[in-house]
């Protein structure tokens, strides 16, 4: 690093941009990207810079308005402190108070978390991306400004921080430089969770100050609750999509499958991330082909929100999180299904199954299951006919953090893939020790300003490095088609962006897709070539 090491006190004292992203300082990739040179990092437009704070690292994804008057600055500080008080109260934050208190009060500041963080590592060890840098800023503010006698003891206890609007704006930005992958928490000897603290910071900004990335809130949960899906797909538009999918299945496979929806009393309610319908309809089609071939009793929902498993509340606040997941619960209850099966979307798994476990209460407590488990039963019990030779190409598996590290679903997808992909190989590391795709915590859908550049350059850099290392030099030299299986919509979106940014299809013949596409590609009842080898 050629840049001066940023200190926490700089957050309030230094008016300049604290960190400048220099692509030349970032870690290099292995073959065939050993000669890769990243383009210069683009700046946010001057017009945007004039109204929104970018003073952390020149990146803009959460819009913190620059206050114009002293009064506005003071109001921002006061409101933020008010939000922190609520964050620490039973009434307003009972759902996360205990984990929050434990993580706030017991960090021994050993920095063990730093090396586990892909953002810190792949930024060339930029101090502002260190997990402790972010969480200790929050800790210092709370200790100094909210605890009795905090100001008096702050110098001795290391809570010496000045609170002004710049500190707050930069803290907001920092909370959106973490993918909440919780890899750092896994290595913490104390069990402190910096990912949780990042989410709690986002929560204060959203639930108290109304400051939140628009892709998550206005264009995310708000749109989903009003229109039915964060993609903008309404129940009416969904009918057209189902029709298209039925035709597409026939075109691709010759099969005539009627997409079942709103079937009361079906065993399974299958819920997709609606992004699949728009970006990867073949994924939802593959589910239909497999479930029909296996003879399952299943249905989709056309009810508002019921056809979109997305729950971006998971990434930034509890109110919207609960509203969306309760809507899913109500629909399942109304349909009278035996269980809800979450299709290939990691955060939807966590929102409905792990977090939702303590939200879907009383009569709405309908059992939920991962589709990876459902698929394992189908494949391993030979409920469909498969020929692994059809998947005779190198395949590696990406582990979505929410499914693996946060829920412990590790082996079902591996048992399936090992059965149907003769050339499967793991990434290093994998399973619960995996690296995030770089698009976690909503990053994958944030497409505004220069944030996508940051995401591809830094937060996704470790994953791209891992993908490259999963294949051999010989496979690169022989231009063999390679497949990255990512059973998660958000991860797929991020991997698509990475492969596009690094031109990896043209340059290294790397393609990505879900697990169900690999299964259908191996099904003998379906004509060969379900996977189309082109980047989209």
């Amino acid at each position: 690093m050629t840049q001066k090491q940023t200190k926490i006190k700089d957050l309030s004292n230094n008016k300049d941009q604290l960190h400048v992203i220099e692509p030349r300082e970032l870690p290099k990739f292995p073959y065939p990207y050993d000669d890769w040179e990243d383009p210069p990092f683009p700046e946010v437009s001057e017009a945007k810079k004039a109204t929104k704070d970018t003073s952390l690292d020149g990146v803009l994804n959460v819009p913190v308005p620059i206050p114009e008057t002293e009064e506005e600055k003071e109001k921002l500080v006061a409101k933020f402190l008010e939000g922190l008080r609520k964050l620490l109260s039973v009434e307003d934050n009972w759902m996360f108070l205990k984990p929050l208190m434990l993580s706030l009060e017991n960090c021994v500041k050993c920095n063990t978390c730093a090396e586990a963080c892909p953002m810190y590592e792949m930024s060339g060890h930029a101090e502002i991306y260190k997990p402790l840098f972010r969480s200790d800023t929050l800790r210092r503010i709370i200790n100094k400004y909210l605890k009795p006698g905090g100001k008096l003891t702050s110098k001795f206890t290391g809570s010496d921080i000045d609170l002004n609007w710049e500190t707050i704006a930069r803290l907001a930005q920092m909370s959106y430089r973490c993918t909440l992958c919780r890899r750092c928490a896994q290595t913490c000897p104390m069990g402190v969770d910096n990912g949780l603290l990042a989410r709690e910071i986002r929560k204060v900004f959203s639930q108290e100050l109304g400051i939140v990335a628009s892709e998550l809130h206005e264009d995310g949960t708000v749109k989903q609750l009003k229109v039915g899906s964060s993609t903008g797909i309404s129940p009416t538009a969904l009918m057209d999509i189902f029709e298209f999918m039925e035709e597409d299945i026939t075109d691709r496979t010759g099969l005539n499958i009627k997409m079942p929806f709103d079937k009361s009393g079906a065993d399974i309610l299958l819920v997709h991330n609606a992004g699949e319908f728009l970006s990867w309809p073949e994924n939802a089609e593959a589910f239909a082909i497999i479930f029909e071939a296996a003879g399952l009793s299943w249905t989709l929902s056309s009810d508002l929100v019921g056809y979109d498993s997305v729950n971006y509340g998971l990434f930034y606040e509890d109110v919207q999180l609960a509203r969306v997941t309760l809507r899913h619960a109500e629909i399942a209850k109304k349909l009278g299904v035996k269980k809800v099966v979450m299709a290939e979307c990691g955060h939807a798994h966590k929102a409905a199954m792990a977090i939702g476990d303590r939200v879907w209460v009383d009569e709405a407590n309908i059992p939920r299951e991962s589709s990876l488990v459902t698929l394992e039963q189908i494949v391993m019990n030979d409920m469909i006919k498969l020929d692994p030779e059809r998947n005779q190409f190198p395949v590696t598996l990406h582990d979505p953090c929410n499914v693996t590290r946060s829920m412990g679903i590790i082996q079902p997808q591996r048992r399936v893939i090992k059965k149907i992909c003769p050339q499967f190989r793991e990434m290093t590391p994998h399973g619960v020790s995996n690296y995030c795709c770089g698009g976690g915590s909503g990053f994958a859908i944030m497409q505004s300003n220069n944030f996508p550049n940051w995401r591809n350059l830094i937060s996704g850099r470790k994953k791209f490095d891992q993908i490259l290392r999963a294949f051999t030099r010989e496979e690169y030299e022989n231009k063999v088609n390679k497949y990255v299986c990512a059973p998660c919509s958000n991860c797929k979106g991020q991997i698509r962006d990475l492969l596009t940014y690094y031109d990896a299809w043209e340059r290294a013949q790397i393609l990505y897709g879900g697990l169900v596409e690999l299964i259908v590609n191996a099904m003998t009842d379906v004509p060969e070539g379900f996977i189309e080898w082109e980047l989209h």
Partner: protein, 309 residues
């Protein structure tokens, strides 16, 4: 009764009350949303690779198999050997392990002193030439005492050196971090000098503990011994008031959060707790939240835009 004895009583009371209060805060904290982190060691047959019961088809119909022995093994490795630090931060482990292990031995030393003092008060002789029990306690006290002091002292010095010399670490250290480690080393240095010069077999120290439990007077063998008693009492009182009492919280961080995978079933006690919490009134101020309403109402529907403040 002497001033030092009074300080010792106060230190023990403060330590117990402070640790109990800390534990009580965590115990009383409300039920929280699941936030476990895998691997969870009690997952029988799955802990090695980080799997969970969610890997099973219709998991809610199956009996859950918790492996309590595996969990105890994991706790033992974490508490005694500092497994996590060993795997993820070897540099710190080389100092942290001797420091913590030394502290465990020192706690053992204190407990042996207490046991010896009780037996001594009951008429049992504690010395090298005493009965088997008396001799055993005598020798164990000496081993735990000196080994504990030396390991903890070296560990504290190593941690202090690391905090002072590692440029990546320095910005996150506070004066209290340095003070705490120096405090430990000063207490240990004074204790070592005191015992090597005045009380090598910890006979006087056992006598002091006996005076505390019997509420009798005590005659110090020398100034350095009195100083040892004074600063050791202050340290015992000081630890629970600082971040150094993280050992209390670690139990909750692991058992209540990281390894808490208890599923919520219809009609369960857990569900009753959640239902109760849903009655709390919300005071968040963002425009999309119905301030003043209970959670059960707020999460039912979004606040209409027209109601925006």
């Amino acid at each position: 009764m002497g001033v030092i004895q009074i300080i010792s009583y106060i230190s023990v009371i403060v330590a117990i009350v402070a640790m109990a209060a800390k534990a009580l805060r965590y115990i009383k904290a409300p039920v929280h949303f699941r936030w476990e982190l895998y691997p969870v060691p009690h997952e029988r047959g799955r802990a090695d690779y980080g799997g969970s019961y969610l890997e099973e088809l219709d998991w809610w119909t199956k009996e859950r198999h918790s492996d309590i022995f595996r969990e105890i093994k994991e706790m033992f490795q974490e508490i005694v050997l500092l497994k996590g630090v060993f795997h993820h931060n070897r540099r710190v482990w080389t100092s942290s392990f001797p420091f913590h292990f030394g502290l465990y031995l020192t706690i053992g030393w204190l407990l042996l002193l207490l046991l010896g003092a009780i037996l001594q008060a009951a008429g049992v002789e504690i010395s090298s030439g005493a009965s088997f029990i008396g001799a055993l306690i005598h020798y164990l006290t000496i081993i735990c005492g000196y080994a504990g002091f030396i390991l903890a002292g070296l560990g504290a010095f190593g941690l202090l050196t690391w905090r002072l010399t590692d440029p990546k670490q320095r910005p996150y250290n506070s004066p209290s971090d340095y003070f705490n480690l120096v405090f430990f080393d000063v207490v240990i240095a004074v204790a070592l000098i005191s015992h090597l010069t005045l009380d090598s077999g910890f006979v006087a120290m056992r006598g002091y503990v006996q005076s505390l439990i019997m509420f009798t007077s005590f005659s110090s063998p020398g100034t350095i011994f009195s100083l040892e008693l004074l600063i050791m009492s202050l340290l015992i009182m000081y630890i629970p008031l600082t971040r150094m009492s993280h050992f209390v919280a670690k139990y909750f961080l692991y058992h209540s959060v990281r390894w808490n995978d208890e599923p919520n079933f219809k009609g369960s006690k857990l569900e009753k707790h959640i239902m109760k919490m849903l009655g709390n009134r919300v005071s968040w101020s963002a425009p999309h939240i119905q301030k003043g309403q209970p959670w059960s109402e707020v999460v039912k529907e979004m606040k209409d835009d027209s109601e925006t403040d």
